[in-house]
Each structure stands twice: as structure tokens, then as C-alpha cells.
């Protein structure tokens, strides 16, 4: 657990980067600090490992005041990942990853062995271990950056805009792998981003910062979308909040109709194995535009009903066989019911 207790950072010129911040970051989850530029999110992150010291207030990690610890030793116990990876260009990939264990006095050979393991863990091949950073792509460099941060197995990781320097396609892949990795490791991660979509996608908790380092809201991503604390948060979260909120709603309880149901003159046609081929009516075969699985979010289902020529999404089982369809009307009714349930629970 990381606690900010009335933390203020004021620069000599009078600028207040962070003003009276109190915030508790739970252990074992991803907490994303998000906000417009100049809101103090990066300053707050960097105060955790004493890259910046606060003007007043205390920051504790598991009850221990960071200001009472040696900065270098404190930083070695906390993983640190930054935007452009910041790899050491004069060291090979494997030596970059082995840096912190070597600083901690682990024999070089042992540190390297561990580094090879970590490289595989972040999705790099052993063949890349002896290359220099200049020989890697931006996405690969960022993976090495993450491996380096993990090398000493720190319980806490700080990540400052780790995915914003790579192109959207690579970013998407890195985010997915990051979530997979976190699923395996269960670290306490504090991440800074200016991208609210990234915050909502990756965060277990999202802290929205306003100018002057004021914490506007700390909540789950779902709550952020459905119940923004004020106009600032609502504005920052942006448009389509309702639709985006469906990402957090599962489709497990959504009732499906049999695959043989006729929808406005169209019928789902299947191949011999029972996989959907398309919709057939009087004319040619129309595409299904995809299908969803039992665990997918309502956002996926909604999107499919909007794209489907029949206005109905097709659900498939693990083998890809169609096992039901959901029409727009049924989906709308389900979403409304869910909304009423939520409103009822807060109203009481």
C-alpha cells in the first residue's frame, strides 16, 4: 500500500505542482494517474521513489516513510519504467536487464541468467539478448525497459507513460501483454498516462488529477464512466461515456435466442461443424461481421448488433460453433434493466 498524506510540492518560483494530495494506492493492482498535462501526475509518481522530494507531507510505502530511506536503495526496491525506455545504449540488452541485481551485489553470471528468463517473460527471444538497444525497435526497447524494472523482483513498479512513445498498433500489443504479465505477477503498479482510454483499459483504479495537483476522483474505471465526480472529470473522460461503460459489463447473463430464429426474413446459415457462415434471406449470403464469446463485454455485443445485417449478434462457443443470437431489442432491454438495477442500488 502506498499512502500520500497531505503531500504538497511547491517549486521555488511559487508553482504548485501538487497541492495537498492525499491518496491511497492499494497493494496488488494497477492504479493509473491520469490528467491533463501540468496536473502533477508525473510529479506525484516521481515523489514515490524520491526522484522528487515533496515540500511537505509524507509518502509511505507499506507504512515506511520514503523520506527516511536512502534514495538509491529505495529506488532499487521499486521498478521504474519511463516513456522512451531510457535503456543504456552502451550495454547489451541482457546487461541492461541485469543492471539492478548487479547494483545490489548479485554475481554477474547469476544476474544474467535471471535476465534471460525475464526477456522471455516480456516476449523477447534469447537471440536479442546480445544486441544493443540501437538495434531494437521502439516496442522492443520498451519491453526491455519493463524487463529491467522487473529484474530485482520489486513489489512496486512505477511507470511513467510507458506506452505513449510507440505507434498505436504496437501500443495495443504492449498493453495486452502488460495485462497478461500483471495477471501472472500481481505487482503493485502505479502508472501515469495522459490517455484516459489507456487509463480505463489498464487501471484497476483510476486517479483523475486536475490542474494544480488536485485529485478530482479516485475510483474504478467503470464508476469513473458512470458516475464522474464533477464536470471536470466528466469533461476529461470525454464523450461516449455510456457506450464505453459497457466495456465493464459482462454478457454472461445475457439471454440468447436459438440460432435457428428468423430475424426480419434473415436466417443464420451454418457450416457442417455448426460455425456461422452468414445471414441468408432471399438473396446472397450476408456477412455476420463477427461473433462474441460468453465472457465478452456488452460493448462487443452492442457493436456486433450495430454491424450485423440482421441487427443481431451471434454468440459462439469455444470451438467457434454458433450457440445463440442476441437481437438489438433484447440487448437494449437488458442494458436498461441493468441500469435500473444500478440506479436502484445507489438511490437506496
Amino acid at each position: 500500500m502506498i499512502e500520500f498524506d497531505d503531500v504538497t510540492k511547491r517549486y521555488p518560483d511559487g508553482t504548485v505542482a501538487v497541492g495537498g494530495l492525499s491518496l491511497t494506492i492499494p497493494t496488488g493492482g494497477i492504479t493509473v494517474l491520469v490528467g491533463p498535462s501540468g496536473c502533477g501526475k508525473t510529479t506525484s509518481l516521481r515523489m514515490i521513489n524520491r526522484m522528487i522530494d515533496p515540500t511537505s507531507g509524507t509518502i509511505r510505502i507499506d507504512g515506511e516513510d520514503v523520506l527516511k530511506q536512502d534514495p538509491a536503495l529505495l529506488r532499487r526496491s521499486i521498478g521504474y519504467v519511463i516513456q522512451h525506455a531510457g535503456l543504456f545504449p552502451h550495454r547489451t540488452v541482457v546487461d541492461n536487464v541485469a543492471t539492478v541485481p548487479v547494483l545490489n551485489g548479485v554475481p554477474r553470471k547469476q544476474a544474467r541468467a535471471r535476465a534471460y528468463e525475464l526477456l522471455e517473460r516480456v516476449g523477447l527471444t534469447a537471440g536479442m539478448a546480445d544486441r544493443y538497444p540501437v538495434q531494437l525497435s521502439g516496442g522492443q526497447q520498451q519491453r526491455v525497459g519493463v524487463a529491467r524494472a522487473l529484474a530485482a523482483d520489486p513489489p512496486v513498479m512505477l511507470m511513467d507513460e510507458p506506452f505513449s512513445a510507440v505507434d498505436p498498433v504496437v501500443r495495443e500489443g504492449l498493453q495486452q501483454e502488460f495485462l497478461r504479465l500483471q495477471g501472472e505477477l500481481g505487482k503493485t503498479i502505479v502508472m501515469v498516462t495522459h490517455d484516459i482510454d489507456e487509463a480505463i483499459k489498464l487501471g484497476d483504479h483510476v486517479a483523475v488529477f486536475a490542474e494544480g495537483g488536485r485529485l478530482a476522483q479516485l475510483s474504478t474505471p467503470e464508476e469513473l464512466l458512470s458516475k464522474p465526480a464533477d464536470d471536470f472529470v466528466a469533461g476529461f473522460v470525454g464523450r461516449d461515456r455510456g457506450y464505453r461503460g459497457l466495456s465493464f459489463a459482462g454478457s454472461a447473463d445475457l439471454a440468447v435466442e436459438p440460432v435457428t430464429t428468423e430475424v426480419e426474413g434473415l436466417r443464420l446459415s451454418l457450416d457442417d461443424a455448426g460455425r456461422p457462415l452468414g445471414w441468408t434471406g432471399s438473396g446472397a449470403l450476408l456477412p455476420t461481421e463477427g461473433s462474441f464469446h460468453l465472457g465478452d463485454s456488452l460493448r462487443v455485443v452492442t457493436d456486433l448488433t450495430l454491424l450485423s445485417p440482421a441487427g443481431a449478434a451471434v454468440r459462439v462457443d469455444a470451438e467457434g460453433r454458433a450457440d445463440g443470437i442476441v437481437r438489438q431489442g433484447a440487448l437494449a432491454a437488458y442494458v436498461r434493466e441493468r441500469q435500473l438495477g444500478r440506479l436502484g442500488s445507489t438511490g437506496s
Binding site: 538509491a72 529506488r75 532499487r76 526496491s77 521504474y80 539492478v100 547494483l103 540501437v134
Partner: protein
């Protein structure tokens, strides 16, 4: 190069170790003056360059003092120190040190400053102490640039060390000053050629050390397709430079 110069250069007697006034002795003297000046200049300029590069404080003052040193005429400095402390190796060394400090100081500073902010931030953020950041991150990355400065300084010092002969010492400058005094121009040209060859040889030697010491990750050897450009920086200009130094000398 005319035939007389050629004859002088390849006269076996001039290469005899037994004769005190032979090429091997003069080359060793020349290297000795140059090495002393370079070592002292390095000991002065390198730590200051590291410090102001790492802290980015005091750079304005240090770099300007260094560059002011570059503007001082070497012969003028030589004469001034000669008047102050008398003849010997000291005036020559002082003049050469003043010549060698600016390139080493500015390239050390510039090399350290050229290290990406993200790299230094990462080094600090993963728990390196300031000294470790300097020695194991900033310095190795800055090495190609610092080597450039040292090679530049070495070329200038070796070509200018001819002035030692002007105040009665040895070195390859003997051939230049004696040749001018005797109107023995083949001797002058031969001396200049030897200075130039020596400068190029030392430059290549330092270049070899550079190749062994600098990581392939920072000098371009690791990046595909791009080869490191070899830079025996202006070695050809050295002979001309030493002649210029001599021609400045009042007869």
C-alpha cells in the same frame, strides 16, 4: 618532396641510435614533451569536464576560460612563462597544456551533455548513485566524443611541440629551427614530415585504443549498415601547422 629531403630522411646515419642528434632520439624527446603536456592537460580538463557536464553548472565560465586559452598564441605563452620561470621544460609544457586543455574540456563536457535525459533519468530511477551515473552511464556513452577531443589535442600538441627547440630543448623542432638557421631547407622539410608522420601515427594509435574501449552500442558499429567514420582529424594539416608555428618565431 625533393631529392635532398629524401636523402636526408633516409640517410642511415640520421637513424643511428648512437648519435645523440638522430631521428630516434628527437622523436623520443618530441613524444616525451607531448605526452607530459597531454597527461597534465587531461588531468586538468577531464574531471572538470565530467563535473560541469554532469551538473550542468559552471559550464559557461569553464568553457569560456578554455576557449580563451585557445585564443592565446602559443609562442606568446612560451615567452611569457620563460620570462617568469626561466628556461627548461616548464615554459614549453605550460604552453602546450594551454593548447590541449580546451579540446579535452569542451568535448568531455559536450560528450556528457549529449547523453539522453531519459537514459540519465532511468539510471537514477533504478537506483544508481550520482558517481555511478557518471562512471558507468554518462562516461561510456560520451567516450566517442571525448576520444575525438583527445585525438584533436594530441595532434595539436605534437605539431606544436616543435617550439621546444626554440627555447633550446630537443625534439623534432630542432630540424626546423636548425634548418632555418642554416638555410638547410631539406632539413626543415624532413623535420616537418617526421612531425606529420608522428602525429598521424599517434592519432591512429589512439584510434585503435578507442575501438577497443568504446562500446559498439554507442559508436555506430552496432547499428546496421552504418559504419563508424574513421577520423584522423586533419592530420595532413599538421605539417603545415608546424611550419606556421616556426614562421611565427622571430628570427
Amino acid at each position: 618532396m625533393n631529392a635532398d629531403t629524401f636523402d636526408f630522411l633516409f640517410d642511415g646515419a640520421n637513424w643511428a641510435w648512437s648519435s645523440y642528434d638522430s631521428f630516434p632520439h628527437r622523436i623520443l624527446e618530441h613524444l616525451q614533451y607531448s605526452a607530459i603536456a597531454l597527461v597534465i592537460a587531461f588531468v586538468i580538463a577531464f574531471p572538470i569536464g565530467l563535473l560541469i557536464g554532469h551538473t550542468n553548472r559552471g559550464s559557461f565560465v569553464a568553457i569560456n576560460i578554455g576557449n580563451a586559452g585557445r585564443a592565446l598564441p602559443t609562442l606568446g605563452v612560451l615567452m611569457l612563462v620563460l620570462v617568469l620561470v626561466g628556461t627548461g621544460l616548464v615554459p614549453v609544457t605550460v604552453a602546450l597544456v594551454i593548447l590541449a586543455v580546451p579540446p579535452i574540456l569542451t568535448t568531455t563536457y559536450a560528450g556528457i551533455r549529449s547523453v539522453s535525459g531519459a537514459t540519465v533519468d532511468a539510471a537514477r530511477g533504478i537506483g544508481m548513485r550520482e558517481r555511478q551515473i557518471v562512471t558507468s552511464v554518462e562516461l561510456p556513452i560520451a567516450l566517442p566524443i571525448i576520444f575525438g577531443g583527445v585525438r584533436n589535442a594530441a595532434l595539436q600538441v605534437i605539431s606544436t611541440a616543435t617550439i621546444a627547440a626554440y627555447v633550446g630543448l630537443g625534439g623534432l623542432g630542432r630540424y626546423l629551427f636548425d634548418g632555418l638557421a642554416l638555410s638547410d631547407y631539406p632539413r626543415v622539410v624532413a623535420g616537418s614530415v617526421l612531425v606529420a608522420v608522428l602525429a598521424v601515427a599517434v592519432d591512429l594509435l589512439i584510434g585503435l585504443v578507442q575501438r577497443l574501449v568504446v562500446s559498439p552500442g554507442v559508436d555506430g558499429r552496432a547499428s546496421k549498415g552504418r559504419r563508424r567514420r574513421s577520423t584522423p582529424s586533419g592530420a595532413a594539416a599538421t605539417a603545415v601547422h608546424s611550419l606556421e608555428e616556426v614562421s611565427q618565431a622571430p628570427r
